[in-house]
């Protein structure tokens, strides 16, 4: 069982949803990211998503675009992110998922990416521009490694395709709460509840919901019916305004708020 699967099993027994914060690795630099991840883990994160910066992030809104630009400015590379995770593994066993566009993985090399992920202790990958149809070579490389490939599903995804995504995905399925980019405004709650219900019936994996969850209150609302809640832009924008020295403390405070709200959500 992968570290991600184990986390969801445990949460299921405890009867609470997973809190999955997202931060951009290298924003503003990798040593700050290290502090932030540790603060998130202490603050109650059940999984951590680490963004790999890309020059042209198609699925991201302005907050994460700016974070990517700052991370690239500080010289962040995928190799540096693997080193960061290896260091983090001495201090935390929180499952870590890399969220990256396909090209940085492709240029690092599929085999080399998977080898580095295993050595450093990365548990899974979310690749928003790699659909199941194009994922053949990547999935072949992952086979037998225990590293999860987490697919995304969207409100526009038709039922038969949901089933395909459920089969291809492992660890959990990432449900994009809205038709739009990261950081946009969340859809109507009852509609989202209905949508998540539709997805959960179609797949056997845990379903985590992301895009557009802005506050601890909203997280709790979504946590009432999803297996996991992903908070990205709202956290990244706190890190942006806190600045380098206060970033980790600010991230930790936010994590504690979201996580205690989530514990009370069911």
């Amino acid at each position: 069982m992968s570290r991600i699967q184990a986390a969801f099993e445990r949460l299921k027994r405890e009867g609470r949803p997973a809190f999955i914060p997202y931060v951009m690795a290298g924003d503003p630099d990798l040593s700050t990211t290290r502090q932030i991840v540790l603060a998130l883990a202490r603050g109650g994160a059940d999984l951590v998503e680490l963004g790999v910066p890309f020059s042209d992030p198609l699925a991201d809104g302005p907050v994460i675009q700016r974070a990517a630009a700052r991370a690239l400015e500080s010289g962040t590379t995928i190799a540096g992110i693997f080193r960061l995770v290896r260091d983090l593994r001495r201090e935390t066993q929180v499952p870590i998922v890399l969220m990256t566009y396909y090209n940085p993985v492709l240029q690092h090399g599929l085999d080399r990416t998977v080898r580095d992920a295993r050595r450093s202790g990365v548990d899974g990958f979310i690749i928003p521009d790699l659909t199941p149809e194009e994922a053949g070579p990547w999935r072949k490389t992952l086979r037998g490694t225990g590293i999860d490939f987490i697919c995304l599903a969207a409100p526009t995804t038709p039922p038969d395709r949901l089933k395909t995504l459920g089969r291809v995905s492992s660890g959990f399925l990432y449900y994009v709460s809205l038709t739009g980019v990261t950081g946009a405004s969340l859809a109507d709650e009852s509609e989202l509840r209905r949508q998540v219900g539709r997805v959960r019936r179609a797949v056997s994996l845990p379903v985590a919901v992301g895009f557009g969850i802005k506050s601890a209150q909203q997280a709790a609302q979504v946590g009432a019916f999803a297996d996991g809640v992903i908070v990205g832009s709202a956290l990244v924008s706190r890190i942006e305004s806190a600045g380098r020295n206060k970033a980790a403390a600010s991230a930790g405070r936010f994590a504690r708020a979201v996580s205690s709200n989530l514990r009370a959500s069911r």
Partner: protein, 413 residues
Amino acid sequence: MGESVNRKSRSFLSPKHLPDASGHFGPYGGRFVPETLVPALMELDREYAKARREKSFRRELAFLLREFVGRPTPLYFAERLTRELGGPKIYLKREDLCHTGAHKINNTIGQALLARRMGKRRVIAETGAGQHGVATAAVAARFGLACDVYMGTEDMSRQALNVFRMRLLGARVVPVDIGSRTLKDAISEAMRDWTANVRTTHYILGSVLGPHPYPMMVRDFQKVIGIEARRQILKAEGRLPDLLVACVGGGSNAMGLFFPFLRDRSVKMIGVEAGGLGIKTGKHAARFAAGRIGAFQGTMTVLLQDREGQVKVTHSVSAGLDYSAVGPEHAYYRDARRIEYTSVTDSDALEAFQLLSQTEGIMPALESAHAVAQIRKLAPRLPRKSVVIVNLSGRGDKDVQQAAEILEGKNAR
């Protein structure tokens, strides 16, 4: 007739089979997009496949190309240019005479018809030089569709006239002030808009780029250039041309001209990329000179990137060629050695811009001037009896101010 068509061509010369059903041209092409867009691309693929088989769709498209766009465009024998260069007979395919001033409208008119079929009342587009934006704005006006055009602020300042034209045609021009503020950032923003509004909006992508079915569909809408040119040259010369030359940004005008000749093995083809300040300076957009395969903006293709896979910022005097990636089908035919690619510099293009203006009374777009510059280089080495077609993809009116600034600035020094 001297037409020689080799019917036993190798498989790569059977373009009817490309792309495959999932949109691949060998290792290139495909669909690398956020999941939200996949159903829309599937719908577009289905709707386009249905439409192209329908007589009524083809008839309406043909009618609009004739009456609204002004096709067929002439294949013009450039007699004075031919004499000036002292080489082969040079014909110009006059896409600059299309309504709105460039070949772009061949594609936008087709996609507007598709948008209407799919019940989408709003269209969006990206634009570099502004030609695709103007062509989209014009068809949106013609069909009564709402229209937003994304344009980098850097391009807005060098193509101010086209910004005004789009607004006059009723479109909203959305400034894109991120990244390099040029075409690639405009495409990213257009795709983000599409992701958010996919249920009501059709994205009219302007070149043979992006996720399947765009490279195939845009090529199909543009191949009218080559179909006409083939018929026209057979009529004028009684034989096929020896060489075709076209500029390549994304590569839609080049693919449009080349595609109907791919099976004619005697016809050589050269795509001309933007050499900018020279390949060695790193300030250029010559993907085939310095690029590698990668996944970018929806497709697998050859692109300019660093070791980490971060996409590089390009440079060209011509906004329409200033882009980091090339259409996937071009990458395929480069590997297959069916099409040859080269580049010319900004200053070569500016000289060609003046040369064509002064020998033929035709001002080419700076994009098309790259193709003219290439034939200018090659002509002295080609036999006089050979026949060349240069695709004059657009007219230069939009570039006059920029050219004046550069040329008069130079003279003043």
